[in-house]
Amino acid sequence: SQQGEEDPQALSIQEGENATMNCSYKTSINNLQWYRQNSGRGLVHLILIRSNEREKHSGRLRVTLDTSKKSSSLLITASRAADTASYFCAAGPNQAGTALIFGKGTTLSVSS
């Protein structure tokens, strides 16, 4: 299967703590994206990092990418209860006409 893997599958933290989620993928990529899903509904795009980038920030989000290890991490700093959701990584293959390959997701619970 080409599907990526997120680690951990589930994460529970307290408000104010940082949350780190990891993603591994198998294919050769041009970009790696992270999406968020609330309550089993539509996913929302959070951030995209290109294969020639190592780190990217957006607000409280920090994404790293290590193409030699085929892995990425998403760090959410100073978490809030509203960050409770499932987070998915999606690998963007290098091949034209090949769609994103989504991982299985990490479920984050932030308690107040």
């Binding site: 089993g40 996913l43 290109r50 998915f88 293959p93 006409g97 994103l100």
Partner: protein, 117 residues
């Protein structure tokens, strides 16, 4: 419209019946995708359209599943002779860029929750 819309939001059907799910992508988006998500699981890729053509149908689980897109706009996913294992949320997404090295960002609809009794 402002976002991707899907209808119906929820569908309950009896085993053996056919269902049709609809997706209206963001205007101007050339690519459209269908995914299936079972309860507590990740996204299972079904099919994508580039324009009205479907270059990749590899994810369709069986010949009971089919999809079409017309006018480079609305798409329908049809499931014939539904089975209980078809129960899931069916998500549609669209992107401005075609799939590939350009790095398409996918915009998702709210999904259709299908329950087959």
């Amino acid at each position: 419209g402002a976002g991707v819309s899907q209808s119906p939001s929820n569908k309950v059907t009896e085993k053996g019946k056919d269902v049709e799910l609809r997706c209206d992508p963001i205007s101007g988006h050339t690519a459209l995708y269908w995914y299936r998500q079972r309860l507590g699981q990740g996204l299972e890729f079904l099919i994508y359209f580039q324009g009205n053509s479907a270059p990749d149908k590899s994810g369709l689980p069986s010949d009971r599943f089919s999809a079409e897109r017309t006018g480079e706009s609305v798409s329908t996913l049809t499931i014939q002779r539904t089975q209980q294992e078809d129960s899931a949320v069916y998500l549609c997404a669209s992107s401005f860029l075609a799939p590939g090295p350009g790095g398409e960002t996918q915009y998702f609809g709210p999904g259709t929750r299908l329950l087959v009794l």
